[in-house]
Every structure is written in structure tokens, then in C-alpha cells.
């Protein structure tokens, strides 16, 4: 099986050993009524449009990606190879109400790709249908077997890792935007995905949060293998080393990625960690210093390329103002990749500066 290459993100090479997905996709929206719960579908639409032939949903769904609504059979006729569950709900559960739609997809000749915590094969009806039809149930959150313990050996090629002051503030989008900008400048760059949506966008990657702790840094090492000296791996960050639950994921990823450059991601105005009101968001200067200190273990030359702000909640003038102030205070470029512009170009240049 060979995945259709997504020219928007270009992920391939040896790291594809981790996972390789059948695309293009039909995006499944389940019975979702709020856009926030369909962020996987929106991420795919935005970052892997070539891999998305349309959307599909159960009766009662009230969210759309704007792509054509297709039955699984119609989607298969247009070349779709898999139905992707585009829902990100609390607990990562696959709802029983979805099963008839999923079986309809298997019958139409599609594999099913899921990034939920629950495993597709745990649904007996679905497993039976897949076996009967010879179709695959692919759990993106299932790490590969035989991940090695990290060696700590310095690898060839260049690496950038997005890190964060918290979860859910733009580490994936920043990495995607930087990889795209690097390629636009003619550089050889791969986006390396570490979470379920990123993996679906890239067509492969490593679900870092599902890896056993002893192998966390080792998993990051095989995700960004030796490469040509001027090749860039732009690696999607996970969690935060300042997070009381997820710092293990973040530190293993930082050590195993041995980045030459980090870009700190932050949402201005977020006063405490999401869902953790007793944990204030760290100061930017402090967050950069701690990451450089910890990251220097596996790459003494680590540096901070700049800061990525998620200013989606701000008016353009306010966004401009907070970025300018932060940039002056830190002496580093600060940009919102979704706004782009000269700020973002400065961030890109700073990351690439020798």
C-alpha cells in the first residue's frame, strides 16, 4: 500500500516506518453539532485538501467542513480509500450510533482511520464486518511495535521542534506553516507529525502520547531519522514541559528530537493552563530558558527561533500590538502563522539563520 503524497506537507522517507495511511479520505463528522468537536476534520480540510474528497455524517449532525457531502459509495467512486473519523470528543470514544455509517463505509470498499483513544477493533460488529470484507481498521493512536530505547546519538540533518506554554494553542499549525514556508523558499523540509490529526494530515508519524514512557525519546528519534545535512525536519510539539500531566510526553519528545531550533507557541491572554486553574501559564522568557536548558542535553547548539502567537481571539490591531510588545521584550520575532505577513517572514528567517 502506498499513501498518496500530500504536497502540502510532504512527509515521507524513513520515518514513514511509523505509520502510513491510505488516502485520499472521506471525512466523517459523526453526529457532531459543534465545530469544536470536529477539529480533526477541519485540520484535514485546511492542511491536506488534496487528500479530502468530501464529508459524510450521521443524521442529526450540524457541522460542515464545506466539502461536498458524499455517501461512502460516491466517495469510493471519486477515489477515496479511507473514511477518517474527523471527530475529537471527550474521552476519545467511538459512539455506537456511528457504527452503521462505519459499516456502510467498509461495504463501499473504504478502510477506516481513527485517532480516537478507543480502538476500532473493540467494536465487535465493526471488527466482524472488516474481517468479512477484507478491509482495514487503522488506529492512528496505536504506536508501532519494537520502538527502541533512545541512543542519544546526534543525527545528521536539521530539526525544528514547536514547543508550548500549554496544550492546544497552535503547535501543530505552527509546525505545518513553518514546514510549508521552508519549502516555499526551496528548502528540503518534512513535517513530522506526533498527534492523531497531524498524522492524518501527513499520512504518517508517531503518536507520541500513546508511547510507553521508557521508549518516549526513542520514538522521537525514529520519527526524525538521519537526513541530508541541509534537510529540515519540522516536528509537531506535544503538551508542555510546564504541564502537570503531560510533561513526560513533552520532555521525551524534546530530548529525542534533539532540535537545533525551537519555536515557542503561546496564546496571549491565556492566564492558566486549560482545565488546570491552579497552574498559571509560564512567562515567555522563562519558558524559553527552561526549554533551552532541557534541550541542551541532546543538542548543545539548541536555540530559540522565535515565538508563535495564537491570536485568533484578538482583533487585528490588538494582535499586532501584543506581538510587537512581546517581540521587543524578548528580542525575538513573534508572529501568528495564521496571519502570516512580515512578522511571520521574520520568524521564518530567524529559524533558518545559521
Amino acid at each position: 500500500m502506498s499513501a498518496v503524497r500530500n504536497p502540502n506537507v510532504r512527509s515521507g522517507g524513513p520515518a514513514a516506518l511509523a505509520l502510513s495511511l491510505p488516502s485520499p479520505y472521506l471525512l466523517f463528522l459523526g453526529d457532531v453539532t459543534e465545530a469544536g468537536y470536529a477539529k480533526t476534520a477541519f485540520g484535514l480540510r485546511d492542511w491536506a485538501p488534496e487528500s479530502c474528497v468530501g464529508e459524510f455524517a450521521c443524521a442529526g449532525a450540524a457541522v460542515t467542513t464545506g466539502l461536498p457531502f458524499l455517501s461512502p459509495r460516491e466517495a469510493a467512486a471519486r477515489g477515496a480509500r479511507a473514511l477518517v473519523i474527523g471527530v475529537a470528543n471527550t474521552g476519545g470514544v467511538i459512539k455506537p450510533e456511528w457504527v452503521p455509517s462505519l459499516i456502510e463505509s467498509l461495504e463501499a470498499g473504504l478502510d477506516i482511520v481513527s485517532g480516537m483513544h478507543a480502538r476500532l477493533g473493540e467494536l465487535p460488529q465493526l471488527r466482524a464486518a472488516a474481517e468479512r470484507l477484507g478491509r482495514r481498521l487503522i488506529d492512528v493512536r496505536q504506536p508501532p511495535a519494537d520502538i527502541p530505547v533512545a541512543t542519544g546519538r546526534k543525527r545528521s540533518g536539521k530539526r525544528l521542534l514547536t514547543v508550548g506554554t500549554d496544550c492546544a494553542l497552535g503547535k501543530k499549525y505552527t509546525a505545518l506553516a513553518l514546514a510549508k514556508a521552508f519549502r516555499r523558499r526551496g528548502l528540503d523540509a518534512d513535517f513530522r507529525a506526533t498527534g492523531q490529526t497531524g498524522i492524518m494530515i501527513a499520512g504518517g508519524g508517531m503518536p507520541m502520547d500513546a508511547v510507553v514512557s521508557d521508549f518516549e525519546a526513542g520514538a522521537a528519534e525514529i520519527l526524525s531519522p538521519d537526513a541530508a545535512p541541509d534537510h529540515w525536519d519540522v516536528i509537531e510539539g506535544q503538551g508542555s514541559v510546564f504541564h502537570p500531566a503531560y510533561a513526560a510526553v513533552s520532555l521525551g519528545l524534546l530530548h529525542g528530537s534533539q532540535p537545533d531550533v525551537i519555536v515557542l507557541c503561546h496564546e496571549p491572554g491565556r492566564r492558566h493552563l486549560l482545565g488546570y486553574p491552579d497552574y498559571p501559564t509560564p512567562q515567555l522568557q522563562e519558558a524559553i530558558a527552561v526549554h533551552l536548558k532541557l534541550g541542551s542535553l541532546t543538542n548543545r547548539a539548541i536555540r530559540c527561533g522565535g515565538v508563535s502567537f495564537n491570536t485568533g481571539a484578538l482583533a487585528p490591531e490588538d494582535a499586532e500590538s501584543v506581538m510587537r510588545k512581546a517581540s521587543q521584550a524578548l528580542g525575538l520575532p513573534v508572529a501568528d502563522p495564521l496571519r502570516g505577513g512580515a512578522d511571520f517572514e521574520r520568524l521564518v528567517e530567524s529559524c533558518l539563520a545559521p
Copy 2:
């Protein structure tokens, strides 16, 4: 099933939810010819003597714990409830040559307890025998299901965590010795085990290196639950935040343990991390500072109680000298728990100082 209480370590209470083992044990030495590969057996002999009725081995073994050699049938007659695989070999494999001895043990009425990476049930002959005889195959390195994501909530009671400049330099022994010393002073203290040997010694615990990264800190939280205000949990450390492979384990454990006190464990003269010649062992002052910085995330009052030196390779005068010099340089007690003495008493007092 209720585990026989080991009065030497006292581990019980709610954290026993993690694992609870059938003891006393018959220690199995496999076909080991070097003492270094039987460190699990030696650890049990030293720290859980009440739980060890004897030893057993295959033909060709050339190591002894000094305990009486008993057949599984003889051991069962003396009250043994489980055969414990006391071997720690490279790769954590259960050798096919051992299987007849293991089956003999099941037939004698013993369960089998293993801390190897390989699962006992993966050996078809062994699984069949256990099913036929109604005996249990217990993999200590298998974490419990349904470990929650960490909450970061401050828990009641006091906690001490041993941390290290590297792996394999005395974090378990230091925690055991401190818990014992605390109890000798009349304090209510539990040893909390985080690795396979520690879990066998304590009769329960959490195999931190086998927990999925997203739940690493959560696993540490349930290992040392809320307790009485003057109760101490003395938690066995794992790995090192300075280790390029295992720092994820160490940081998740540090955050989830939210220690009031850390004790840094070190082997004087170790110039680089074991098996990682490019990674110099960190300086003590620096190691303490980084741990306090990282640990302050979940416990702002964290402090360092002192340093534990593994001086097994040094003559007594030399040990005395390096400990005195380090203590002066750091302004903290430095002691070797295995040597005990006034230095160790000072370390204990410093840990308990309010």
C-alpha cells in the same frame, strides 16, 4: 488474595490498588553465572528477608543468595506462595531453558511473579500449564488498566522522592533505607515502589517505566495518594532527568509525586552515564537546581534534603573523604545509606527538618 506484609518496608493503603503480590517467595536464579544478573534476587534477600523462603535454580547456575536451596515442592511446604524470577538479564527475556523449572513450580502450587519485559503468558507451554493448574502468571511490569491523567492537585501527607544523576546508582536502596530510618524514629512511613524489584520487595507498586507517557504523572499520583498530614511516602526514583532515553519517566514521576523533599543519588567517580559515553554525569549542584526547578511546578515548597552517595567501589577512608568534601561544597548532608553512621543520621534529620 492478601499479600504477607513485609515489616521491613511497609507498603499498603490505597496505593496497593496498583499491584499486590502473593508472598512469601521462592527466588529463582535461572541459569545465571554472574551475580550482577541476579540483582532482583539479591534485592529481595536484602530488603524482604521475611518474604523469601529459599532459592531455586536450573542446572548450571553458579550464583547463590545464601538462602537454602529448595525444590518448588519443598518451598510450597514451607509456605511459599510464588516463585519469583530473580534474574535481571539484558532485554528482560524469559529463557526457554527455564520453562521446565517454571512449570515444576506451577505444579507445586506456586504462582509465578516476573519483572521481565517479556510477558509470562507469551510462553505457550507456560500459559497452558497455568490454565490447567489454576495458577497465576503475574507480570509486575504490566501497569494497571485505567490509570487517570494527572490532576496536579496537591495531596495531603508528606512525600520524599529519590532522584539521580543517572540510572542504577542507588535510588531504590536509598528510598528503602530512608523509609526504614523514618519508621525507626516512630514516624508513619511507606516505601512506594516504582520498578520491578522494588515492587516485589514492597509487595505492590507501580511499574513507572511501563506506563504510557500521557498517564505517567497520573500513575505517580495514584501511587502516593492522600494521606494523614504527618505520614511520609518515600518514593523510589527512576532514571534521571539528565538521561537522553529515560527523562520522560523521571519527569512524570517527579511531577506526579509532588515531593516535599528530594534526595539526589549519585555514584562518585562515575564520569558519564552508563552506556552513554557521550553524556557526562551532571554536576551535583546543577542536578539539584534543575530538579528543584522542575519539581516546583507541582510543589512550590520542594527542597533538597541531601545527597546519597553509592560508595561501594571505594575504601572506607576514601568514601568518608569524598562525602565530606561534597557535603562542604553543597552545604547539605551527604551519606551512603549502606554505610549508615552519623552521616546517614544527618541526612535523615535534614529530610525530616520542617
